[in-house]
C-alpha cells in the first residue's frame, strides 16, 4: 500500500496552485453573483478561462506532445480537476470535447481531422457539444435512432439529440448516428457536424435551476461529410465506449475537494447561527464529514488502481453513486441546518457569500440521473460485479 503522492505530483500540484492564485481573478460564484453577467457573458468568461488554461498547458495533458500533451499521468489529471474544483474556477466550455472527442480523434481520427479540430477545440475558438443522448434512448444509449443516410459520398442526418451541454453556444457537435438500421451496435457511426447549416436546429433546455446549459439538437437532412467520419463506418459505438472509459479517475479527487468547501460553509453557517455546539447539529455535521472522507477513500483507491494499471472494477459505479447521492444528503442537510437563508439565490440580498446552496440543492438532483443514473449503476454492480442472474 502506498497512498502518498510522488514528489513529481506534489510539484505539479504546487505549480498549479500558484498558477491558479495568480490567474484566477474571481471564483466562479462571484461571477455568478455579478448582475452584469448574463448567460452569454458567463459563457465568454468560461471561454476565456479555458484559453488561459490551454495557454498554460493544462488541457489535454495526457495527449501526445504535438497536441498539447505533457505526458501527464491519471494522478496529475485528477490533481488538476481537484485543484480547479477547490479553487472554484469557471467550468470550461469544451469539457466534453476535450474528455471525449479529443481521445476519439487521437486514437481513431485521421491526421487531417486532428490538425483541423484539436487546436481550436483546446483554445475554445470552436465549442463542441456532445451528440450521444437521445430522448428515447435515455438509459439505453444503443437504442439511438438518429439516421445518417448516404448522399453521394456524404451523409444526411435526421433525428434528435438531447442533453447537449452548451448546445446553444456550440459551433460543432460530435454525433453518434445510425448508418445501418439493422445492426444495433455495429450500425452506429461517429460523425463531426457543424451546427451552422440548414437542417440543424438547436434549442436550449431550461433546467430545474433556471439556467439553460443544455440543449436539444434537431437534424433534418443536415449534411455530415464523409471526411468528418471518425474511424470507419460502424465503429461509432466502439469508439464511444472506449473514450467514455478514458476519463476514469479524473474526478476521483475533485468531488470530495468540492464538498470540503461546501462543508466549510455549512459549518461556518452553523457557527454563525449559534447551533454549532448542539449535539444534533454536530452529529449531522460529523456524519457528512465522515461520508465525504469515505468518498475520498474510494476516490484514492480508484485512482491508485488506475495509476497502477489495474482496470477499476466496481469502483467507477460506486464512485458515481457515492458522490451523486452524497450531494443530495449534503444540500438537504444544509437547507435544514441553515434555514431559509440557504434557499436564497446567489444574487438575492442576504445570500451567503461563499456558497450557492439554492443552486446546489436543485442541481444535485440531476447528479443521480445524468451520466448513468443511480439505478443504471446499481444494475451494473448487481449484474457485472455480483454476477446476479438477469431476469
Amino acid at each position: 500500500m502506498d497512498l502518498r503522492f510522488t514528489e513529481g505530483h506534489e510539484r505539479f500540484r504546487a505549480e498549479l496552485r500558484s498558477w491558479l492564485r495568480t490567474h484566477l481573478k474571481r471564483p466562479w460564484i462571484e461571477e455568478l453573483r455579478d448582475p452584469a453577467n448574463d448567460e452569454d457573458r458567463l459563457f465568454e468568461i468560461r471561454r476565456a478561462w479555458q484559453r488561459q488554461l490551454n495557454e498554460a498547458g493544462y488541457l489535454g495533458m495526457d495527449w501526445p506532445r504535438e497536441w498539447g500533451g505533457r505526458g501527464a499521468t491519471a494522478v496529475e489529471k485528477a490533481i488538476f480537476t481537484e485543484e480547479t474544483y477547490r479553487a472554484d474556477a469557471p467550468p470550461i466550455p469544451n469539457v466534453l470535447g476535450i474528455s471525449l472527442l479529443g481521445p476519439a480523434l487521437i486514437h481513431h481520427g485521421s491526421e487531417e481531422q486532428r490538425r483541423r479540430f484539436i487546436p481550436k477545440m483546446l483554445s475554445a475558438e470552436e465549442i463542441w457539444c456532445q451528440g450521444f443522448s437521445e430522448p428515447d434512448a435515455g438509459s439505453d444509449l444503443a437504442a439511438l435512432r438518429t439516421r445518417a443516410e448516404a448522399d453521394g459520398e456524404n451523409f444526411r442526418l435526421t433525428g434528435q439529440k438531447v442533453w447537449t451541454t452548451f448546445g446553444p453556444w456550440s459551433d460543432w457537435i460530435f454525433v453518434l448516428a445510425r448508418t445501418d438500421m439493422g445492426d444495433r451496435y455495429g450500425g452506429i457511426t461517429f460523425f463531426l457536424v457543424p451546427l451552422e447549416q440548414p437542417g440543424v436546429e438547436v434549442r436550449g433546455i431550461k433546467q430545474i435551476s433556471g439556467e439553460s446549459e443544455f440543449g436539444e439538437v434537431f437534424f433534418d437532412g443536415a449534411l455530415a461529410k464523409r471526411e468528418h467520419v471518425v474511424g470507419k463506418l460502424g465503429e461509432g459505438w466502439r469508439i464511444a465506449m472506449t473514450v467514455l472509459s478514458y476519463e476514469r479517475g479524473a474526478m476521483s479527487l475533485a468531488y470530495p475537494a468540492q464538498y470540503d468547501g461546501f462543508l466549510e460553509d455549512l459549518i461556518q453557517g452553523c457557527r454563525e447561527n449559534g447551533t454549532l455546539s448542539r449535539p444534533d447539529v454536530r452529529e449531522k455535521l460529523g456524519r457528512l464529514l465522515v461520508e465525504n472522507e469515505v468518498l475520498r477513500s474510494n476516490g484514492m483507491r480508484n485512482l491508485a488502481m488506475i495509476s497502477s494499471g489495474k482496470a477499476p472494477g466496481p469502483e467507477a459505479s460506486i464512485e458515481k453513486i457515492g458522490w451523486s447521492e452524497y450531494a443530495k444528503r449534503l444540500s438537504d442537510a444544509a437547507l435544514d441546518l441553515l434555514g431559509l437563508q440557504a434557499q436564497l439565490k446567489v444574487r438575492s440580498p442576504h445570500a451567503r457569500r461563499e456558497m450557492d446552496w439554492a443552486y446546489e440543492a436543485l442541481w444535485c438532483r440531476a447528479g443521480t440521473i445524468y451520466a448513468g443514473s443511480s439505478e443504471i449503476q446499481r444494475n451494473i454492480l448487481a449484474r457485472r460485479v455480483l454476477k446476479l442472474p438477469a431476469a
Binding site: I208, K328, D332, L340, H350, S374
Partner: protein, 360 residues
C-alpha cells in the same frame, strides 16, 4: 368509526378540485409563478373569497361557512395538488388571528379580509438562519412599530400586516411611508418573499396571555395547514410518477415494469397514504379532540414534510432526464416542498413540539 369526509366537506373537497382544475391547473399558473410580479392571480383569489374560502373556519354568524379544520384540510390538500401559488394559507392565518383578537379594528379588517377586499398577512420572522432570537427585536412603542421582518410571504401585495412584536400582535395598515419591502429571491421561483423594514403606526391587537394563546393556536393552525398542503403536493407527485412509469419505455418495455422502480413507487404510496391518515386524524383532533391536537399536528407537519421531500425527490429521479427540466412539472412541486419544510415550524421544531405534547 368513519374516516370518509361527511357530505358537506366531501362536497367542498370535490368542488374545490373542480374549481382548481378549471381555474388553476399548473399549465395556467406557470406563467403567473414565473413572471407575474405578485406571483398569484388576484382574480382567482377574488373568486376564492367570493366562494367563501377565506371564511372556512368562521361560523355563519361571522360570515364564514363553518367548515372547520377538516374542511380546511380538504381545501389545502386540493390546493397542494395543483401547487397553487399565492398566500392562501397566510390569509387564513391572519383571519384566524383577527378573529381570536377581536375588537373593532380586528373586526373591520376581518370583514374586509374574508371578503377579499384587503390582503392582510402575517409578519413574524426576524431571522434568516432559521434560529429565531429569544426576544423579538421588533417593538411596538408610542403607537409605532419599528423593526425588520423577513421572509414575509407575498408581503409586497399586502394591504396590512399582522406584525409579531415584543409587545404582542400589532396590525399595521400599509402606510405611505415607513414600509420598505425588499424582495428575497429563493430557489422557488413561484414564491414572493420580501423583507420589510417597518417604522409605521399600528394598532395593538393582543398582548400578554392573549397574545400567547393566539400565537399557540395560530402556530398550530399554520403547521397543520402546511401539512395538508404538503399532502396535496406529494399525492399529486405520486400520480405524475405512476403515469410516467406507465408511459415511458426503456429496453422496449414500460419502465414501470422494473421491479426496483415498482418498490420505490410502493414506498412513495406508503408515504402518501400515511400522510393522508395523519393529516385528517390531526384535523379531526383539532375539531373534536383538542387535547390530542398538539401532538397530532406536530406529527402531521413533521411527517408530511419528510414524506413530501422524499416523494417529490423520487418523482424527479424516476422521471429521469426530463425530471430536472423546467418544462416538466416535478420541480414546481419539489421547490415548494423545500420551502414548506422550513416554514411554519421545521421538522426539528415539530419533533420537539411532539415530545412536549406528551410531557417529555
Amino acid at each position: 368509526m368513519q374516516f370518509e369526509l361527511d357530505e358537506d366537506r366531501a362536497l367542498l373537497k370535490s368542488s374545490t378540485r373542480e374549481l382548481l382544475e378549471k381555474e388553476a391547473p399548473v399549465t395556467t399558473t406557470r406563467p403567473i409563478m414565473e413572471t407575474s410580479p405578485e406571483g398569484f392571480s388576484r382574480s382567482l383569489y377574488a373568486q376564492l373569497a367570493e366562494l367563501g374560502y377565506l371564511g372556512l373556519l368562521l361560523d355563519d354568524a361571522a360570515g364564514g361557512s363553518g367548515m372547520g379544520p377538516i374542511g380546511l384540510a380538504a381545501v389545502l390538500h386540493e390546493m397542494g395538488r395543483v401547487a397553487l401559488p399565492g398566500p392562501y394559507l397566510e390569509l387564513v392565518l391572519s383571519i384566524e388571528t383577527l378573529r381570536m383578537a377581536g375588537g373593532d379594528v380586528a373586526q373591520r379588517w376581518l370583514r374586509d379580509a374574508i371578503a377579499g377586499e384587503k390582503i392582510v398577512l402575517p409578519a413574524a420572522r426576524e431571522s434568516l438562519s432559521g434560529v429565531e432570537p429569544a426576544t423579538l427585536a421588533t417593538r411596538f412603542e408610542g403607537g409605532r412599530v419599528r423593526g425588520l421582518k423577513t421572509f414575509v410571504a407575498h408581503g409586497a401585495a399586502a394591504d396590512g400586516l399582522i406584525v409579531t412584536t415584543a409587545q404582542g400582535f400589532v396590525l399595521v395598515e400599509r402606510p405611505a411611508s415607513g414600509w420598505s419591502a425588499t424582495p428575497l429571491e429563493t430557489l422557488d421561483h413561484a414564491q414572493r418573499f420580501v423583507e420589510i423594514a417597518l417604522d409605521a403606526p399600528g394598532t395593538l391587537l393582543a398582548d400578554g396571555q392573549k397574545a400567547c394563546e393566539i400565537a399557540g393556536a395560530v402556530g398550530r393552525l399554520a403547521a397543520f395547514g402546511a401539512a395538508a398542503f404538503l399532502l396535496g403536493l406529494e399525492e399529486r407527485c405520486l400520480e405524475l410518477t405512476v403515469d410516467y412509469l406507465q408511459e415511458r419505455k426503456a429496453f422496449g418495455v414500460p419502465i414501470g415494469s422494473f421491479q426496483a422502480l415498482q418498490h420505490r413507487a410502493a414506498d412513495m404510496l406508503l408515504r402518501v397514504e400515511s400522510s393522508r391518515a395523519t393529516v385528517y386524524r390531526a384535523a379531526w383532533a383539532l375539531e373534536q379532540d383538542p387535547g390530542q391536537a398538539p401532538l397530532l399536528v406536530a406529527a402531521a407537519k413533521a411527517y408530511c414534510a419528510d414524506s413530501a421531500r422524499l416523494v417529490c425527490g423520487e418523482t424527479i429521479q424516476l422521471f429521469g432526464g426530463v425530471g430536472y427540466t423546467w418544462e416538466y412539472d416535478p420541480h414546481i412541486y419539489f421547490k415548494r416542498v423545500k420551502t414548506l419544510e422550513q416554514l411554519h415550524g421545521s421538522s426539528r421544531e415539530q419533533l420537539e413540539q411532539a415530545l412536549r405534547a406528551v410531557g417529555v
